[in-house]
């Protein structure tokens, strides 16, 4: 099932709203302005992820994964090139130096940030689509993209791929937000989108 342009715009709008709210909370948390936006949205088979991200299969990436439970089960994920995640965390917590990899505490900080973003997005689309979704704990993980893609939740699924730009304290970097579900769940999500849009139109 494909979405038409209007429907895609609608989905983007939902995610933008979620990001907007996440940005407000993050700004408050880091006591600085944080801007988040969605420049792109697409629906792709999970094995095609490499075509859409800016890193190679052998590159190390940092992911924060959060389980989704309820009407739209699956996993939400933020994915950054490793260097970007390091930059992001250290810029936000204002640490100028440190080891080459994220420390445990830094991973928790990144988990918190990603958790805020994912939670707001889930909250927003649950509310728009009138569905009930709970979230699990955000978990941070670093590995090569290839190894990440070998995780079970990646296999045979669909990805709602949301490119995201993240601006804070003169740092501007890109990361991607993925929602990984099985095909059925995806179909269900899309039907919900179509239904919700019709409902809004009726209104």
């Amino acid at each position: 099932m494909d979405l038409n342009e209007t429907q895609v715009d609608f989905v983007k709008e939902i995610f933008n709203t979620g990001l907007g709210e996440a940005a407000v909370e993050l700004s408050e948390l880091v006591e600085d302005e944080v801007l988040l936006s969605v420049p792109q949205f697409s629906l792709i088979p999970s094995e095609e992820l490499t075509k859409h991200v800016a890193v190679g299969e052998k590159d190390v990436v940092t992911t924060v994964t959060m389980e989704l439970i309820g009407d739209m089960s699956g996993n939400g994920m933020l994915i950054f090139p490793a260097a970007n995640s390091l930059d992001l965390v250290r810029t936000i917590v204002e640490e100028s130096a440190g080891p080459e990899n994220l420390t445990d505490l830094e991973e928790e900080a990144l988990s918190e940030i990603a958790g805020i973003i994912l939670n707001h997005m889930v909250t927003t689309f649950s509310s728009f689509l009138n569905i009930n979704v709970k979230t699990g704990m955000p978990r941070c993980h670093q590995d090569t993209l290839r190894r990440i893609m070998q995780e079970s939740y990646f296999i045979d699924g669909m990805i709602m791929f949301i490119g995201m730009s993240f601006e804070v304290k003169s740092l501007n970097l890109a990361g991607d937000i993925l929602f990984l579900q099985n095909v059925d769940t995806t179909e269900k999500f899309l039907s919900q989108v179509v239904a919700a849009l019709e409902e809004y139109d009726l209104d």
Binding site: M66, L105, T135, M137
Partner: protein, 720 residues
């Protein structure tokens, strides 16, 4: 089977005793449980907290973020992380009283989780982790990281410095592993070997060394052996290397071994000594070869001759040494210039080499002297043929810048071992033989002989005696009267030198004058003669014989001396005598040799008032035309004609002719060597005016001569 209540109690106990802080909040956002850890760190009892909201329980000290996360968990089922880094100690929790007083809250990581009960009500569990220790660890980790970063930075500065030093070095500095594989190299290595670093990395050092190893190193088949060996040497080894462009260069190689715990390695320092080697080779060449002709020089000749002597001695062989000198080279050089002189030397060198076999040695000893060592000959005839061939080849015309020149050489030959069995003897004797060839009229070769040697020895010893004679004034002048046949009186004499040798007694002039001529000593002797003669003339004229004439023999060398004219006039002035009192006797040969100069010179002497006579007339080959050109006063008939008078028809004919010739040229005639009355009578009849000889008197000392004058002077004033 334990019942559910039992299980619940166990689980509750587990939560109570957990080392995390645990807070449970119900759907009404009231605290329903806190564990022991929470109680002890918050210093509140569970009873104070239960039933209250978080905000109430902690007196509004909690961050909105925390409150919102809890709300979100209960309202929307959202789980949250509150990281230590982004949330500064959300709960007022302390490790103990001391920390509370100091305001040192626990560093916390908080998980806010949704828990659903059986009725699908969302509870919230807040888990609080004490990460104080983790924070401290991270802080020290970062500090440590910073320190090591600074250390690494310092190290890289040091390394950069070291690299700069290495790269500014004007030697190749290469590090190698223990197998001789190149690990690093400095920039100068790239310059010397003309290639990029990358071309040499991981290659064996064997790739840059020439397989052509010096003797001591050729036994090493691999680099590790070679490196280990050279690292133990105290000095650099010289060997050849190959550039990446396949050019061979000379290098000095110094190797140091570096031992660390992990590995053995080497540092090789390579210095490009190609230029130095070239300069050395050049120096060696210059030390051994003549740069003009490319022939061996005196030093190399010495080596070769010594070597030839050794070989000949061992093999019982003979070999000749040829000493070759270009005839009249000085004249060629003076008249044609040094460039032409050099060109001639080159041609002559080539022709000499061309006349010999490859194995023979030709050396230029300096100037126009060459020496040749002929390897292994079988007969003296063979040597003659070689010398003839050289003479013939050299005598062919030489074309230099449109001029055709003819050059001849004189060659002296000495043969080992007969003519000398060591360097000095054989070389000297070849030289002597060469002088003999010169004496024999040049353009020929002479073998050294013992007679020649003796003659030369005599001559040399006489030459040294002659020098001594000049210094010690062993000469005296004798005077032989010349008688006017018609008037039967004396008005002139010939001054004749006598050498009174302290050991050998009276040595006649014909024995030493030629040697004095050859050696140049004639000038000093001639000066003595002129001085003495003039002084004696002044004595005679002082006695009143004003027209007296003193005949003095002048040798060609004297005559050609640039100072002769000024010297003889000065002598006359010094003794206050007239130039007309002096008659200069010269030989026919002198007239022949250098006519233009002779004419001018004789003209000047004659104009100055000196009388000129030709001595030994008739023995040379005077052109009659010359006689007319020269301003002469007297011809002296040679004693060899006079001695055969009056019987020998030839002598008669010659004497008559000379007298006739002299008269027709208005010259006086003096006959020398007159010993008999008959001779005098004949000469008188023929019209000869003066005689000189034993008939009248032998040469006598000045005092005796003065007595003669007093008795027989034509002008009788002296006797008055």
């Amino acid at each position: 089977m334990p019942d559910d209540a039992y299980n619940s109690r166990i689980i509750e106990n587990a939560f109570i005793d957990s080392d995390l802080g645990i807070i449970l909040i119900n759907e009404n956002k009231q605290i329903t449980f806190v564990n022991k850890w929470m109680e002890s760190t918050s210093l509140c009892s569970g009873d104070d907290l239960l039933g209250k909201t978080l905000a109430e329980a902690f007196d509004g000290q909690l961050s909105p973020r925390l409150i919102r996360a809890v709300d979100s968990a209960i309202d929307n089922g959202r789980n949250s992380v509150l990281s230590q880094k982004l949330n500064k100690s959300p709960f007022p929790l302390y490790k103990g009283d001391g920390e509370r007083q100091l305001g040192q809250k626990l560093q916390q990581l908080i998980y806010v989780k949704t828990i659903s009960d059986a009725y699908d009500n969302n509870y919230c569990m807040v888990e609080i982790f004490d990460v104080t220790e983790a924070v401290r660890r991270e802080k020290s980790l970062i500090e440590l990281g910073e320190k090591s970063r600074l250390a690494a930075e310092q190290l890289s500065i040091e390394e950069a410095k070291m690299r700069a030093i290495l790269n500014s070095a004007k030697d190749c500095i290469i590090t190698l592993d223990e197998n001789g594989i190149i690990q690093t190299l400095n920039e100068y290595t790239e310059t010397v070997f003309q290639c990029k670093k990358e071309q040499l990395y991981d290659k064996s050092m064997a790739t840059i060394l020439s397989p052509d190893m010096p003797a001591g190193l050729s036994r090493f088949t691999d680099m590790s052996g070679l490196l280990e060996y050279t690292s133990k040497l105290s000095e650099a080894v010289e060997l050849k290397a190959v550039r990446c462009v396949d050019e061979v260069i000379d290098i000095d190689l110094t190797v140091s071994r570096i031992r660390t715990e992990e590995e053995n390695s080497y540092v090789a320092i390579i210095r490009d000594i190609t230029e130095r080697k070239k300069a050395e080779a050049r120096l060696h060449y210059l030390a051994k070869y003549d740069p003009l002709t490319g022939l061996a020089n005196r030093a190399l000749f010495h080596e070769r001759l010594e070597h030839a002597i050794q070989v000949a001695k061992r093999e019982n062989q003979i070999f000749p040494v040829l000493f070759l000198d270009i005839d009249r080279f000085k004249n060629l050089n003076d008249t044609l210039g040094h460039d032409t002189g050099d060109a001639i030397l080159k041609v002559v060198s080539r022709r000499i080499k061309g006349s010999l076999r490859e194995v023979d040695t030709v050396c230029r000893m300096g100037g126009d002297e060459f020496v040749i060592i002929i390897e292994t000959i079988h007969s003296v005839n063979e040597v003659s043929r070689i010398a003839e061939k050289i003479i013939e080849n050299i005598s062919k015309p030489i074309r230099i810048e449109h001029n055709e020149l003819f050059v001849t050489v004189s060659i002296g030959i000495a043969i080992y071992p007969d003519d000398g069995d060591d360097y000095t003897a054989i070389f000297k004797n070849a030289d002597l033989a060469m002088y003999e060839a010169k004496d024999e009229g040049r353009n020929n070769f002479q073998f050294f002989s013992q007679a020649m040697n003796e003659r030369i020895q005599r001559r040399m010893s006489m030459e040294s005696d002659l020098r001594k004679a000049i210094a010690e004034n062993q000469f005296v002048l004798y005077y032989q009267p010349q008688v006017d046949i018609n008037k039967r009186c004396i008005n002139s004499c010939e001054a004749l030198i006598r050498w009174i040798h302290p050991d050998k007694g009276n040595i006649p002039p014909f024995e030493f004058i030629p040697l004095a001529e050859e050696s140049g000593l004639i000038w000093d002797i001639g000066k003595y003669v002129v001085e003495q003669a003039c002084r004696f003339v002044s004595e005679i004229t002082g006695r009143g014989w004003h027209d007296f004439v003193m005949a003095i023999n002048i040798s060609p060398r004297q005559f050609q001396h640039p100072d002769f004219m000024s010297f003889i006039t000065a002598a006359c002035e010094k003794y206050n005598i007239s130039t007309a009192n002096i008659e200069l006797e010269i030989t026919e040969g002198l007239l022949m040799d250098n006519t233009e100069h002779s004419v001018t010179m004789l003209r000047r002497l004659s104009d100055a008032g000196f009388k000129i006579s030709i001595d030994d007339f008739g023995t040379g080959y005077s052109s009659l035309a010359y006689l007319r050109k020269f301003p002469l006063d007297t011809l002296k008939i040679d004693r060899s004609f006079v001695i055969d008078l009056p019987e020998n028809p030839d002598a008669i004919a010659v004497s008559r002719a000379i007298i006739g010739l002299a008269h027709s040229l208005r010259l006086h005639v003096v006959a020398e060597g007159v010993e008999t009355q008959e001779q005098m009578d004949f000469l008188s009849v023929e019209g000869c005016e003066y005689i000189q000889g034993y008939l009248v008197s032998k040469p006598i000392p000045s005092s005796d001569f003065m007595a003669w004058l007093e008795a027989y002077a034509c002008d009788a004033i002296g006797s008055e």
